[in-house]
């Protein structure tokens, strides 16, 4: 998958970096993507977002056929407004660019897998 990259952290475990989705690359990376995409709307000041992100990274390491992206709401207000985000962490699953389902708040790995139906 060319849209993800791996980075080795100090302890030697593998960290998955989610695709940084912005207002500018949304069309190319998400709207025109054929297949499933999970977007994580987050912000630096959001504690639950910081707890959720590694869980999503863990899922992303295990599920290869899905694109995983993150949207910083501070930097991409237009995109946050497009999805009418009023609570974060906000997860949304899209298939061929169409919204399939969404959720608000902290989620376990199992809950995320259920959202993705995998």
């Amino acid at each position: 998958m060319e849209h993800v990259k791996y980075e080795h952290c100090k302890k030697g475990s593998v960290v998955m970096e989610l695709v940084e989705i912005t207002t500018e690359n949304y069309e190319q990376e998400v709207a025109n993507f054929e297949g499933l995409v999970l977007l994580d709307f987050w912000a630096e000041w959001c504690n639950p977002c910081k707890v959720l992100m590694p869980v999503i990274e863990e899922v992303a390491r295990e599920v290869n056929e899905i694109k995983f992206g993150k949207v910083n709401v501070d930097k991409n207000e237009k995109l946050a407004n497009q999805f009418a985000v009023t609570n974060i962490p906000f997860l949304v699953v899209l298939k061929n660019g169409e919204v399939q389902n969404s959720s608000v708040g902290m989620k376990s790995k199992q809950m995320i897998l259920e959202m993705l139906n995998v």
């Binding site: 912000a43 977002c49 501070d74 985000v85 009023t86 902290m106």
Partner: protein, 294 residues
């Protein structure tokens, strides 16, 4: 190292006893408004030849914890933060610690207002500090009547355009100086895809962009969600050691157990107390060795 226990019912006090006896600085913060204190006669708890009232047992627990050296703060916890340390905030003080145990009892029944559940995530929020950002310059309301609601109003006032407190027919129990208040009973939260307004039982309407819920006192679930602790069906999810998914946050008692009994609360409090003591010791060792847990 320090541990703060939020809640001074049987689970919180039981946890505190184990933490303190592990020679760790221990603070208990909570109100006397516990399920235990309302029980008139307790006959199903070990060790009492004659029934004991819930209030007597509650006070005895507090005395026991104080005798062992726990600091007890009677006050309502209105917020919780996790930075370098955990910070537990009441209206009057802020307590710092290396780990916390949430033991504030069962989550009270959620508000039964039409539209509230439907619009959750679409303009209805349960955390001002988490979601105020999305209502910058907009008009929002906070449903609630006590100190917790006032704290949420103050948090929002820094960010939003206008904030009004809706007491939903209840008399305010906190100082409301400088706060716009409507006391009418609420009938429904309305809108199409997103919150657009509040309709009152008297037929009046109020156009708003967002609704924040902060009724009564902050529950374990309310505080847990702020940190990113997993909550399901109003119960905090813990492992067999009483640990949540958030490092350093443990939980015990009715906010965890499905069987809401004094005996089970005491048991899970003891377990969380032992676990949190092990946890802070592991941090202490990590710090001395110059390593950190990831």
């Amino acid at each position: 190292m320090k541990v703060t226990i939020v809640g001074c019912g049987p689970a919180g006090v039981s946890a505190a006893i184990y933490v303190r006896r592990a020679n760790i600085e221990t603070t208990i913060i909570g109100t006397r408004d516990t399920a235990l204190a309302t029980a008139k006669k307790i006959e199903n708890y070990y060790g009492f030849a004659e029934p004991i009232s819930g209030m007597e047992l509650f006070e005895a627990g507090l005395q026991q914890s104080k005798r062992l050296g726990c600091q007890v703060i009677i006050g309502e916890v209105i917020s919780l933060f996790a930075d370098d340390k955990f910070r537990v905030r009441t209206m009057d003080c802020e307590v710092y610690s290396d780990a916390i145990i949430l033991a504030m009892g069962q989550q009270k029944k959620r508000l039964d207002i039409a539209g509230l559940a439907e619009f959750e995530g679409h303009g209805v929020s349960y955390c001002a500090i988490c979601d105020a950002f999305f209502f910058r310059g907009k008009k929002v309301v906070v449903i609630g009547e006590g100190e917790y609601a006032i704290a949420e109003v103050k948090e929002l006032a820094e960010v939003v355009g206008e904030v009004i407190l809706l007491t939903n027919g209840f008399l305010p129990t906190a100082d409301l100086v400088g706060i716009s208040v409507i006391t009418a009973k609420i009938k429904a939260i309305v809108g199409e895809d997103y919150v657009a307004g509040v309709v009152f039982v008297d037929g009046k309407n109020l156009a708003v962009d967002g609704v924040f819920v902060a009724v009564g006192v902050a529950s374990c679930g309310d505080l847990a969600r702020r940190l990113g602790v997993l909550v399901e069906n109003n119960k905090i999810i813990v492992d067999e050691a009483g640990a949540t998914n958030f490092p350093g946050v443990f939980a015990a008692g009715d906010c965890v157990n499905s069987l809401c009994q004094i005996a089970t609360a005491v048991a899970s409090g003891a377990l969380a107390g032992i676990s949190v003591a092990k946890y802070v010791r592991s941090i202490e060792v990590g710090n001395k060795n110059g390593t950190c847990k990831i």
